[in-house]
């Protein structure tokens, strides 16, 4: 990359072989001190939902239960997202260190990496790293062990409570919330479940301090973010960028000069049309509508040769297949959205039917049981509203 506009960072992928040092330093500190650091750093979950990480650890630490768990969510299934794969490939020790510190703070002796089944090739190298890491923990006299749990290929199992069900040997179906994981998670015990990248960021905070992390980014979106850039771009790949850039800047850097839309946050994220590139800031506060936040880091760029109808059709195909099928809005709603746009395209339904579908998407957003069904409206509404003519003609 020779272009210059965006603030590139190399916090996460920099490997200085200082795990032991950082861990010694950290374990010597009082727990409250570490949690306060995490809270003041402004770090929020990087998996998509954006829950404040420090608060999550704090809640789990306060839960009164003997057995607790730390789980690293590596079920990276969001279309267009592949950053966790890279983090686990190149700096897995940072993730493991984050897990161990979390376990130390909340009182968990057991951690799991829930690894996406498509990432089976990562399992052996990871196991080797874990083995070495366990030796290090033994030296530090820290009682904490990490295991890998292989997923089976269902997108829904990236949803934290469905992930617990999956680990417990049940169907991967989201649970009712409350109770939340910090109260009753895996095996109904208090559990911290963090995204791979989130855990890696905790390492940066432990290393450089909360202030340095907070200096990056803007307002409510602090720190850096690892983006998976794909689509119509001459430079697809993984980039760690500072929060707060405008989408226009992003497209100037990564686009092919003909970008007509960017899908931010994958199939469950939002589609931003060209006319709104300038006004859209990437970050938690840059939410476009609703409360689902495009924080997973998937950036799919579409140029003018792409049919947005096909793009939407593709997303809906995905959701129709990957809904767990448990709740009505998601199971039936996704099918109706897909059949609906097909019917409008073929002229079997009037174009006004799109309005009914938009209402349906909104109903799904406010009634579905988990983030999957709730976020279908993000891509659906943003594509249909911004590219209506492509849906009809």
């Amino acid at each position: 990359m020779k272009k210059k506009n965006l603030q590139r960072l190399d916090l996460i992928f920099k490997n200085e072989h200082d795990t032991e040092l950082i861990l010694r330093k950290t374990f010597a500190r009082p727990n409250d001190d570490i949690i306060n650091d995490l809270i003041s750093s402004g770090l929020k979950g990087r998996g998509g939902a954006g829950f404040p990480t420090g608060l999550k650890w704090k809640l789990a630490a306060e839960a009164e239960e003997k057995d607790k768990y730390v789980i690293c969510n590596a079920d990276e299934g969001e279309p267009g997202t592949f950053k966790d794969r890279e983090i686990l490939s190149s700096v897995p020790h940072k993730v493991l260190a984050g897990m161990a510190v979390c376990g130390h703070i909340i009182g968990a002796k057991k951690g799991f990496i829930y690894l996406r089944s498509e990432y089976t090739f990562l399992k052996l190298p990871l196991l080797k790293t874990i083995e070495d890491f366990h030796l290090l923990l033994d030296q530090l006299e820290i009682d904490f062990r990490v295991e890998i749990f292989m997923g089976s290929g269902a997108y829904i199992c990236g949803e934290e409570s469905a992930l617990f069900e999956s680990m417990e040997g049940k169907r991967g179906e989201p649970r009712n919330k409350p109770p939340f994981p910090t109260d009753k998670g895996y095996r109904n015990r208090p559990t911290v479940i963090n995204n791979v990248e989130t855990l890696a960021h905790t390492y940066s905070i432990l290393k450089y301090g909360a202030d340095k992390f907070k200096d990056l980014g803007v307002q409510d979106s602090r720190g850096s973010k690892v983006f998976s850039v794909s689509g119509d771009t001459p430079t697809p790949g993984i980039y760690e960028l500072e929060f707060g850039m405008s989408l226009q800047k992003f497209v100037d850097d990564f686009g092919d000069g003909d970008s007509k839309a960017v899908q931010v946050g994958g199939a469950s994220g939002f589609c931003v049309p060209r006319k709104r590139f300038e006004k859209t800031v990437i970050g938690y506060q840059g939410k476009l509508r609703g409360t689902s936040l495009p924080t997973g880091g998937s950036m799919m760029i579409f140029n003018s040769s792409r049919s947005m109808y096909n793009v939407l059709h593709n997303y809906l195909d995905f959701f129709v297949e990957e809904s767990c099928g448990q709740c009505t809005p998601c199971r039936v709603g996704t099918q109706q959205l897909l059949l609906g746009i097909q019917a409008v395209k073929k002229g079997e339904q009037p174009s006004l039917y799109l309005n009914k579908l938009l209402e349906l998407a909104e109903a799904m957003r406010i009634t579905a049981k988990c983030g999957l069904g709730q976020s279908v409206a993000n891509s659906f509404s943003s594509i249909v509203e911004n590219f209506k003519e492509e849906m009809i003609y």
């Binding site: 409350p178 009505t328 199971r331 039936v332 009914k356």
Partner: protein, 596 residues
């Protein structure tokens, strides 16, 4: 649970215990929130999303069945946002449901239909998904029909089969658009480990799970001049039939039931209660024989504990799950099958009818009885002993079809020879009833005295507790039973197959020692059977139970061995309990079945 939470629902202040749900709080102040996947017998699923409500200040709606109350909540159950979302959710359900309402057995009794009539008024619906899916109907079982095209995936059946019965014959398979309620390897229901208990049928909100109906066949028989149609009615039918015909829960309708059956054209209206008494004589004597062989003869081959055999759901369960304990099951047939065998032999002979011209019908609170009647071993008379089994629900429908105003019918009495019964037979319909009836007779046989309980009411075996144990010390016995002097008879009663499994595991693992175990497959016993009127709940089962014990108390005869018609059949036909004739007609054997 002591802390009170205060909230407002539709501006009405509610105070309710901590941990309660919004739905419970709303019901407390008589605000009805529609539900579908919710069933009070089952755990909360929160998957249909019909009961969504709005909380002030919250963007998304909340599922009232799953969401605990919180201090200061302001809930709206009927806002524009709620109504619009609820209507769409119901429309979605309708779009995946074969809305074949006019032809459906559940027409008028379908919860989705009821919701649709409130919310889907006019307007355009979504695209019909049923046509795209190529559903087939599984109607191979003699008991249960599974029609996936009417399934709305609420998973009540799945939770019933798992939580109440611990069978999981029904489970969820696939995901997304293909997600469905399925059986093991999607085999037909009659091939999998299903006990035919019909508890799923009792809880299915639509017509996706129904019993296989035989009322058309019964109408044909009734309209055939050459056929003599006898009918028997199970104990639990008389305390529940009224519910399906507009009468209050728990009303005893025995007399009107008999009237209605005569009006429908049955030639002989007889009572399963008669053979319930007979079952007590046979099964009670079998128990005493086993005790004699165990205690007196020290016979190592005698199998104790002995278990009851009248619940066909239980029998099929033990054939699948604990086949090594089949020798422990009483060889006495169920009252239905004893009746069937006697109807086409003893009774046919008495009234001068050829067995080949007799059609034997039973009215049962049960779907498994349909399967039981179909068993190859149930042909002792040389014919199918029981030709058709109707559920309480099917009979109610026939009464409606015949234009009979059930509520105003006069009381009538059963025909004689096989129509008399004792209070001990009536309580067969409730969990613990067979045990109580057996003890009333067995204790008296051994000691010559009545059971030492006030009013013959053996309270320790009654109630709705999942598993109940009662021990009776046998004292001052008659000389021929001297070996039982001082023996503590240990009994156990369980209802619902989850509890049955627990009892059998305890027996298998040597953690429990019993002489006699009564097991009913259904919650509450037959009164909560899979063929009973819908809906069911703990409160409804309690009312039916009270009615049963009330009927027992009102009976002039309370003990099976004092039933004059039972005495008569032994004198003139069977000769003695466990005798040759009994062996031919009243006893059976069991079959080991797959565990999968």
């Amino acid at each position: 649970m002591s802390n009170k939470i205060n909230l407002k629902i539709d501006n009405i202040a509610v105070s309710i215990h901590e941990g309660a749900t919004i739905l419970e709080a709303a019901r407390k102040v008589n605000i009805r929130i529609p539900t579908l996947c919710y069933h009070e017998d089952l755990c909360v699923a929160g998957n249909c999303r019909v009961c969504m409500v709005e909380q002030s200040g919250s963007d998304r709606l909340l599922p009232s069945c799953a969401m605990p109350v919180a201090e200061g909540m302001e809930i709206h159950t009927n806002s524009m946002k709620v109504r619009s979302a609820r209507k769409q959710v119901i429309e979605l359900l309708v779009s995946e449901h074969r809305a074949d309402c006019t032809r459906c057995y559940k027409n008028g009794k379908c919860e989705l239909q009821e919701l649709s009539s409130e919310y889907i008024v006019g307007g355009n619906g979504f695209i019909d998904l049923v046509a795209l899916k190529g559903y087939t109907i599984d109607n191979f079982s003699p008991s249960i029909i599974k029609d996936d095209s009417k399934c709305i995936r609420c998973q009540r059946c799945v939770r019933t089969c798992d939580q109440l019965q611990d069978i999981s014959a029904l489970t969820v398979a696939y995901k997304g658009e293909h997600m469905k309620v399925s059986s093991f390897y999607e085999k037909p229901m009659y091939e999998v480990v299903c006990t035919n208990c019909g508890q799923c049928v009792n809880r299915c909100p639509t017509g996706a799970l129904t019993e296989k109906t035989y009322f058309d066949e019964v109408w044909s028989a009734l309209n055939s001049e050459s056929k003599h149609v006898v009918v028997q009615t199970a104990p639990a039918v008389r305390v529940a039939l009224g519910e399906a015909l507009g009468l209050p829960v728990g009303e005893i309708v025995t007399g009107r039931l008999v009237s209605a059956l005569r009006r429908l054209g049955f030639d002989s209206v007889l009572d399963t209660d008669f053979t319930a008494d007979l079952t007590i004589i046979e099964e009670g004597n079998e128990l005493l024989q086993r005790l004699k062989r165990a205690v007196k003869d020290k016979d190592p081959n005698v199998k104790l504990p002995m278990t009851t055999s009248c619940s066909p759901g239980w029998v099929k369960f033990i054939e699948h799950a604990f086949p090594e304990y089949l020798p422990n099951v009483s060889t006495a047939k169920s009252p239905q099958q004893m009746f069937g065998a006697l109807a086409k032999t003893f009774y046919a002979n008495k009234i001068g009818i050829e067995a080949s011209n007799m059609v034997s019908v039973s009215v049962m609170p049960c779907t498994a009885k349909k399967y039981e009647a179909d068993r190859p071993e149930m042909r002792s008379s040389g014919y199918k002993d029981v030709d058709y089994v109707l559920t309480t629900r099917e009979l109610a429908l026939m009464i409606k079809q015949a234009g009979i105003d059930f509520a105003s019918l006069p009381d009538d009495e059963y025909d004689s020879i096989m129509g008399e019964s004792s209070g001990a037979a009536v309580i067969f319909g409730a969990t613990g009833g067979v045990m109580e009836a057996a003890l009333r007779t067995a204790y008296e046989v051994v000691t010559g005295r009545e059971v030492p309980f006030e009013g013959l009411n053996i309270k320790p075996v009654r109630g709705m507790e999942n598993i109940r144990e009662a021990n009776i010390i046998i004292e001052n016995v008659l000389p021929e039973w001297d070996f039982l002097e001082g023996v503590e008879l240990k009994t156990c009663v369980a209802h619902g197959l989850r509890n049955a499994k627990k009892v059998m595991e305890a027996v298998r693992d040597g953690k429990a020692e019993y002489h006699f175990i009564e097991i009913m497959a259904c919650p509450g016993g037959c009164l909560g059977g899979g063929g009973q009127p819908i809906p069911t709940s703990a409160a409804i089962r309690q009312r039916r139970s009270e009615a049963i014990y009330e009927e027992d108390g009102l009976k002039p005869i309370r003990k099976s061995h004092e039933n004059p018609e039972v005495m008569h059949i032994y004198e003139t036909f069977l000769k003695e309990p466990l005798g040759k004739k009994s062996h031919e007609l009243l006893h059976t054997h069991y079959t080991e079945r797959n565990r999968y």
